[in-house]
């Protein structure tokens, strides 16, 4: 008999799971989630700058979302370039780990597994992919208009699902509205109690905080993925290009000192992996993203820059991890174009070098100074629902259409809220600041 792994066959739900393909995706009980911490210096500087920002708010400026030239030597890559150097993965590794956790939970006698994920963790995508691995049907969310009016039959879709079912995002099944709230509360209790058979439910962390903290819904042991520390992010970022159509590996170097921020993927396949220690940038990135890899990826992409020089750098300056040197001025290129032209750095890395802006040099949307409390309510509602359609805002929010339009317009202009009429969400780059602001003002926040 071949044993797949050395882990115990029967594991209590919520305990750490065996490593997946890369060992990065580990499921654990949500109550044990701990975000990475920033350095003491970084925490102090963040606190001071935040306090000064409240006293002397900077003039509001509109975030320019089109690529800009930071200086004459660097250019922000387009979406194609970013999708080569730092693509959004297909989450197959995460889904494998989650599928293992679900199977172990089922073996231990559990019927419904609830997996909670913070905003921009692609929790619904991971759960959807897990459904395919488990061979279970996905239950589509009901008509939002019927949910809002409290007339939706929430149970009908579960009939006949004997082989199990999956709900990727339960937050799409409810609104924080007085009509339908009672019906959803009862439905959700029955769902988690296993009244509809074996299932897997994905839930946004803010929604879960509202359902459990305000409505009093409880679950036996919701699970989440463990936080990504700086080392995990380095390994993950180095592996991402391998899933893109472009080169499978890049070197990521800082623009200010030329130090290696994320090494090429090949390093992790060699004995030199242990020697690489992530620097302050990745430590701060992990802390700022609170261990959320999807959020960290968005911030990471925001810091990537192309060198305008398509030629390989001087051998004497780019061969060492401690080397400096900025790219000389020359023709413009993108990562994928570089690969096609055959340029490589001295490590033999076909993808070449991608430059990483220092932490304070990248543009991030900030909450407008002097924001009114109505805008805070709007932001909080968007997070509780993990995004809302524009047509539902007036039903959910206690403000007139004119005030709603004005507040929303201000937030979208500043880049804090993004999306279109079909879904408005707090942008990933603004999310950490928004979360902190809401907590300061006394609004409940998620546990991530």
């Amino acid at each position: 008999m071949v044993q797949v792994d050395s882990a115990p066959r029967h594991r209590e739900p919520g305990q750490d799971q065996p490593n997946g393909h890369t060992g990065l995706w580990r499921c654990l009980a949500s109550s044990r989630f701990e975000p990475p911490q920033e350095t003491v210096t970084g925490t102090v500087m963040t606190g001071i700058s935040g306090f000064l920002g409240k006293l002397f708010p900077p003039s509001p400026k509109v975030m320019n979302l089109t690529p800009v030239i930071a200086n004459s030597l660097l250019k922000r890559p387009g979406s194609d370039g970013l999708d080569c150097a730092a693509p959004v993965p297909d989450w197959s590794d995460a889904a494998s780990s989650l599928a293992g956790a679900v199977e172990e939970s089922d073996a231990a006698g559990g019927s419904v597994t609830l997996v909670v994920g913070p905003p921009w963790s692609y929790n619904a995508d991971i759960v959807t992919r897990t459904a395919a691995l488990l061979g279970r049907d996905i239950i589509e969310s009901p008509d939002p208009r019927r949910v809002l009016s409290g007339t939706a039959d929430l149970t009908i879709s579960f009939q006949g699902k004997d082989s199990g079912w999956v709900v990727p995002a339960i937050e799409r099944w409810f609104f924080r509205h007085h009509l339908g709230l009672g019906r959803f509360r009862e439905f959700f209790r029955h769902l988690l109690a296993g009244s509809f058979g074996r299932g897997l439910v994905g839930c946004d962390s803010w929604t879960w905080q509202y359902l459990s903290g305000v409505l009093g819904v409880s679950s036996r042991s919701p699970i989440s993925f463990s936080a990504f520390a700086a080392e995990d992010l380095a390994k993950w970022f180095s592996s991402l290009p391998s899933s893109s159509p472009g080169p499978s590996s890049y070197s990521f170097k800082a623009t200010d000192d030329g130090h290696l921020v994320v090494p090429p993927r090949e390093l992790y396949e060699s004995s030199a992996a242990e020697a690489f220690k992530p620097g302050k940038f990745l430590v701060r990135l992990a802390a700022r993203a609170r261990g959320n890899p999807g959020l960290a990826l968005a911030m990471w992409r925001n810091h990537l820059m192309n060198g305008l020089d398509a030629k390989p750098a001087d051998p004497g300056t780019e061969n060492s991890d401690q080397s400096g040197g900025k790219p000389a001025s020359a023709a413009e290129s993108t990562p994928c174009v570089e690969a096609q032209s055959g340029h490589a750095d001295q490590t033999g890395n076909a993808g070449g070098t991608i430059w990483v802006l220092p932490w304070n040099d990248a543009i991030e949307p900030k909450v407008p100074p002097g924001i009114c409390r109505e805008s805070l309510i709007l932001l909080h509602s968007l997070l509780v629902h993990n995004g809302l359609r524009e047509e539902h805002l007036a039903d959910i929010l206690p403000m007139t259409a004119g005030r709603l339009s004005a507040n929303l317009g201000q937030l979208m202009e500043s880049g804090v809220v993004e999306g279109g009429p079909c879904l408005l969400r707090v942008s990933p780059l603004a999310y950490p600041g928004v979360r902190g602001l809401l907590s300061d003002y006394g609004y409940f926040v998620d546990g991530f």
Partner: protein, 263 residues
């Protein structure tokens, strides 16, 4: 016996500078600290506002002591004479004024109200914006600044809704027709409160019921995130509460349903 120092020995310049410094210190603290407090959130804002009257009192005491030391010839007889004259003037001419000032000092010790509190004094309800030596300035819900003498605390109760904290209970009433399902009404009104965007979720939500000659009186008792949003919170609960009651098939009490004045 000289009571006051000789004019040519009186440090006039230092005296004026001391008074000016005291005035500047009080003016600065009354403007700077509230400005700073408005840029903070939650508990920090209330803590900072509470320091304003205390700081003013300390400055006044310090300036008064300095002025007396500079002007009065230092001797026991002079001090006794000074205090005696002061007492006579205060007793006859400034009785009410002194009463308010003394009450103001007592409020600093007993703290029946402080800046940021929502209080009702003498029939006036609003947020305490500043505490002066003689009066407390309250901003009402219709944007009116009312100065209430501190001496009111001698004669009547002071109703403080939040007492230095962020927790201010709001009560929203509904008068329903007596023929209805109470369970359904309670559930509808509870969900109304639980689904409010203004709700402070760390505090409990309670729906109480009592019978009255005009109908069954329901009260939602809940707390907003920010006390300054209490009126918007009550409006939100009232509007959506009526909708929820109607959706549950429950009618309002007839006096309210027909628009005539209720209890």
């Amino acid at each position: 016996m000289k009571f006051v120092r000789e004019l040519n020995t009186l440090p006039v310049a230092r005296l004026l500078l001391t008074i000016l410094a005291g005035w500047a210190g009080i003016a600065l603290s009354q403007r700077l600290l509230p400005w700073l407090a408005e840029r903070l959130s939650g508990r920090n804002r209330l803590y900072l506002l509470a320091t304003v009257p205390v700081l003013r009192l300390l400055i006044l005491i310090a300036i008064s002591a300095a002025v007396i030391a500079m002007t009065v010839e230092p001797s026991v007889e002079n001090l006794v004479a000074y205090l005696g004259a002061l007492g006579l003037a205060l007793g006859y001419g400034l009785k009410d004024y002194v009463s308010s000032i003394v009450a103001g000092i007592v409020t600093l010790y007993e703290m029946p109200y402080g800046p940021g509190d929502w209080v009702e004094i003498g029939g006036v309800y609003g947020e305490v914006k500043s505490i002066g030596m003689r009066t407390v300035v309250i901003l009402t819900s219709d944007d009116t600044m009312v100065s209430v003498p501190h001496s009111f605390i001698w004669g009547g109760p002071v109703h403080n809704s939040n007492y230095g904290s962020e927790n201010l209970m709001c009560i929203t009433e509904f008068l329903l027709d007596p023929c209805h399902d109470s369970g359904a009404a309670i559930r509808a009104l509870e969900d109304t409160a639980l689904s409010s965007a203004y709700l402070r979720h760390t505090m409990p939500v309670l729906v109480s019921v009592e019978e009255s000659p005009f109908g069954t009186r329901y009260k939602i008792k809940a707390y907003p995130v920010d006390p300054r949003d209490q009126f918007k919170f009550k409006t939100d609960l009232t509007v959506r509460g009526r909708h929820a009651i109607a959706a549950a098939g429950i009618a309002l009490s007839r006096p309210l349903a027909t628009g005539s004045a209720g209890a």
